[in-house]
Point group: C2
Chain length 300, copies 2
């Protein structure tokens, strides 16, 4: 039973086969967001704060923080964003950068056990990212591509994941601290991408015994009704053994699919979260209850 | 690769591991429907016809036909309903009764290869239903309970399914003509019912190599937002290997989950059905296209 423990200064969460699906909020990312980009570059983190709060309220388990802005001082902006977020919430964070100095700047200010997003199977990445993950006692997202690119063959992607897990072990990082991203391809471009992703997720869980994650919305790229397709993918992936996803928790279709998958996986005891989310307002509202009680009292 | 072929006089459909999920419309069933019950008992099949048409238009692959009305002449009503439905549509039918005379009356008028719904693992049922299935060259739904009732242990349910498949073989009915219903329990009452159903579906597919079906809406009994839970269950069940369900095709949440699962399973080539269903009206409507063409012509 593989469990990845992540934490802030005061809160611990578990990603695992027997835990509710971990929703890693993806919104704090300036890629493709001009306004957020400009604000973060100028040291204005008001929108970062709003995005963090909105995602937490929508049910995120963790937040991914990315500060990849061309020509900006990414290490400084990433560290400041993390400090700002940790000043008002205890939700654990994923530190997201392809620049090693930015990862280190983020890790050096982070309070708790962070998730480093990410390392690939490329030698030069393994050699710099894994020592950093070990130094700061973090966990890491392992993306299953290497120097040869992204293979369309799921067996090749499995091999790359296995290699990263083994290399992590060489650095003293256990498999419970390596969360594999099997790389989800758009099913609109590669018709069998869905089935092969589900099969790969099963193998990663059963054979390699690792937690898994992915950029969930990739699956629906180029298709109409993307939220509907993301929802089908997420519940099926959770059924096949995927334990987390980097996604937008503000989209209710996807979140409902995950709440449903938690129930189906036995990860929502007595369906409490499902019932809390969906019970009829008339039965749930304290106002309604009070009115009925008042009526009864009036009759008595 | 197990394939169950069912047919009407002029149309054949396939239930199988590589086929789109088979939606068996459940609406033609007087249980709990007073008006339909009274009409069918009096020989008025107008609502049966409307229900058939509505389900076909909503995307049903097959229709289940049940005429279980207390004190009524079920064999006659079932046979007449089937003849009526086969007079205006070529969709294959599932003949649904617990009364052997009704099953035989339905089979004797049915044109094509029907699905008999159902036989259990009880000796006295096996001995009367299986010869009938063989006699009429039909396929059969095998419900995984026996004299001892419905076991909560998935291993017991698997054993009962295996026994029915073996008994069917003794009668010359191949495993491709036995569709196992693993019996879906409400997840609101039995917290692990979802997970154990998914695991059982996988085993039925991989070990017993049979197609599977179920009464899908059982899963959500007693819970709020039943359609949302049914949708999560259906996509996850299809991901785990379930190939059909007896369900209400008029509910769009469930149908969208199945369309998504077909894409994810590689059973919707080039995502054609998904795109056809969900593309923007502006791009899809011939009216829109014509207007644009007219404008272009006007400019030229």
């Amino acid at each position: 039973m593989t469990r990845t423990i992540l934490s802030s200064a005061t809160k611990e969460i578990t990603i695992g086969f027997d835990a509710p699906f971990c929703v890693i909020g993806e919104r704090i990312n300036p890629t493709g967001r001009k306004l957020l980009s400009a604000e973060m570059a100028s040291g204005d983190y008001s929108r970062v704060k709003l995005d963090a709060i909105a995602q937490i309220e929508a049910g995120a388990t963790m937040l991914d923080v990315n500060a990849g802005i061309p020509l900006a001082d990414e290490p400084k902006i990433l560290a400041e964003s993390i400090q700002l977020i940790q000043s008002f919430t205890d939700i654990p964070l994923s530190i997201d950068s392809s620049i090693i100095e930015a990862l280190e700047a983020g890790l050096s200010v982070y309070q708790g056990k962070a998730l480093v997003n990410s390392v690939t199977g490329e030698e030069e990445r393994l050699e710099v990212v894994l020592p950093l993950v070990k130094k700061y006692g973090a966990a890491v997202v392992a993306i299953s591509n290497d120097e040869t690119g992204i293979s369309e063959d799921p067996n090749e992607r499995f091999k790359v994941a296995k290699k990263i897990v083994e290399r992590a072990a060489d650095y003293g990082i256990g498999r419970e601290d390596v969360i594999v991203d099997p790389l989800i391809m758009p099913v609109g471009a590669i018709n069998l991408a869905g089935r092969s992703a589900l099969d790969l997720i099963s193998r990663l869980r059963n054979e390699l015994q690792v937690n898994t994650t992915c950029g969930a919305s990739n699956i629906s790229f180029g298709l109409p009704n993307r939220h509907g397709m993301n929802a089908a993918f997420l519940s099926m992936a959770a059924g096949a053994g995927m334990t987390s996803a980097i996604m937008n928790p503000l989209h209710s279709e996807e979140m409902h699919a995950i709440l449903g998958a938690n129930v189906m996986n036995g990860a929502d005891p007595e369906c409490r979260r499902w019932i809390e989310k969906f019970r009829e307002p008339a039965a749930a509202g304290s106002e309604g209850r009070e009115r009925r009680m008042t009526r009864r009292r009036a009759k008595g």
